[in-house]
Symmetry: C2
Subunit: 342 residues, 2 copies
Amino acid sequence: MIIDVHGHYTTAPAALGAWRDLQIAGLNDPSKAPAASDLKISDDELRESIETNQLAKMRERGSDLTVFSPRASFMAHHVGDFEVSSTWAAICNELCYRVSQLFPDHFVSAAMLPQSPGVDPKTCIPELVRCVEQYGNVGINLNPDPSGGHWTSPPLSDRHWYPIYEKMVEYDIPAMVHVSTSCNACFHTTGAHYLNADTTAFMQCLTSDLFKDFPTLKFLIPHGGGAVPYHWGRFRGLAQELKKPLLEDHLLHNIFFDTCVYHQPGIDLLTKVIPVDNILFASEMIGAVRGIDPQTGHYYDDTKRYIEASTQLSAAQKQQIYEGNARRVFPRLDAALKQKEK
Amino acid sequence: MIIDVHGHYTTAPAALGAWRDLQIAGLNDPSKAPAASDLKISDDELRESIETNQLAKMRERGSDLTVFSPRASFMAHHVGDFEVSSTWAAICNELCYRVSQLFPDHFVSAAMLPQSPGVDPKTCIPELVRCVEQYGNVGINLNPDPSGGHWTSPPLSDRHWYPIYEKMVEYDIPAMVHVSTSCNACFHTTGAHYLNADTTAFMQCLTSDLFKDFPTLKFLIPHGGGAVPYHWGRFRGLAQELKKPLLEDHLLHNIFFDTCVYHQPGIDLLTKVIPVDNILFASEMIGAVRGIDPQTGHYYDDTKRYIEASTQLSAAQKQQIYEGNARRVFPRLDAALKQKEK
């Protein structure tokens, strides 16, 4: 089985964006604010938005199951206050859950959290609980910068975040560390902010002893780990200067990288430098880079092709990246699959 | 000849740091503020600080000449106001100039600018002029985030920066785009902020048409380009989505990457993905990563070893990375060398 651990609902029916626009308009003019119940999207609309997009591409490319969460750039935790984020997260998570119910063999849902800048992360717990217990979510997306590019929250190693970690450990769910839209003009959202956040999160863990406090906490760092594998020597050297253990011991029981790297040399570096145990297949399809690479004639984000073409991975290692590691890092996904005798 | 285009004066005599501490103390208590003339460092002290450090390592490793600028993390443009930065930059630039005079065959100087958050960059021009005309500087370091991790300045593509670009073009000097210490707790200085800034600067150029306005402007992006080469497919794809020309045409007449990547797989990726014309040898020795890699038994930042060990570069291409490209990107360096019949 081929599991893609990084998919977002980027193709939700237009009614979702229209509802969000009204919610944002309501921040200045409360008479415009919609009720959650004003949003009506039928199962047929959901089906069509998936069948003609993600599911069509999964079939073309040959992946089986996607861990599916709300659109990352739409989380926009910097918009409004906690109530605004809370209503928005509930709506987006419900839609992903409905997709997972409509296509139970192909989508399993993961939650966005109702984060809001300056608000205690423990306020996210009720939504997290609801998503795990009622929706069967197998993971969460955690935004290390709910300000949207101003980086006003403490580092991920700070006790500020511990309430979320405690719940993650209790449920044995990983967090994909994923920022949202940048509202800082310096940072292009998908070309700078996403990659910077990946690098930043890794370094926040490296300088800390977070995983001594939470030995079973698991972070998935998307986009191939930002700059980290390319600069693996730098990070090994910095850990050494800081008198930390070897990265394998210090971080790699807890940190995993996905394969959202959109060219062969990048995937080859990732799989050469990072232990196979720590690499999970993902494409972030349909996401930031939707075109066809003129150098190959294939979609940039068809990352399965790069894994397939790897000359350094054995068939068993490829299967680990495609399935085995995902089942280990997402134990609730593994349990759900086993229940279906998969 | 082997030219290292990225060296900082990280080993300046302790009197420099002590003077800076007093300058900072003077921000709150003007009675403590030192005069520039209070700093006394003899030629012998400068000589020793270089001979036992950078020059010793250059001899060991076999590089000949270093483009030498003030310590990046000490620029700290966020400290104080323009006057504070101005005095500090003048002192640091003078020391690098003196080093270049003491070791004319081994060091050529590049300038830090007296940037200050919120201050018009044109205020940096007098120091830039002084460094080029009186000190023979061959390049500058440009900090895209003088706030130190809060990213409050406009992107490098903004007209805000044009006064500096006009002077760079007039003098035909490149800028290394290099941030300084992070005072944002989210960003480790050398493990996150530096690499993020590299990626950010590249993407600021990608989304803009800056090089249409300045066809001969040249940026050197240090630390191997941050995350850029590893994600070259992503950047090619994003340029395509944004209807920009191919990166070779859009950016690679103006943007260059150094080789400060501290392991063999990283250098192999860099040299595979980025055209050889756009890669300049550098080590940032003595810099962020000073240890010996237990996997190789050699210094992480002995980047010449990785170039030497490359199986994909021809001898001519290695020479281009070591010397030819540096002479092309730093025309004033080339002219100075030719004057010495080198």
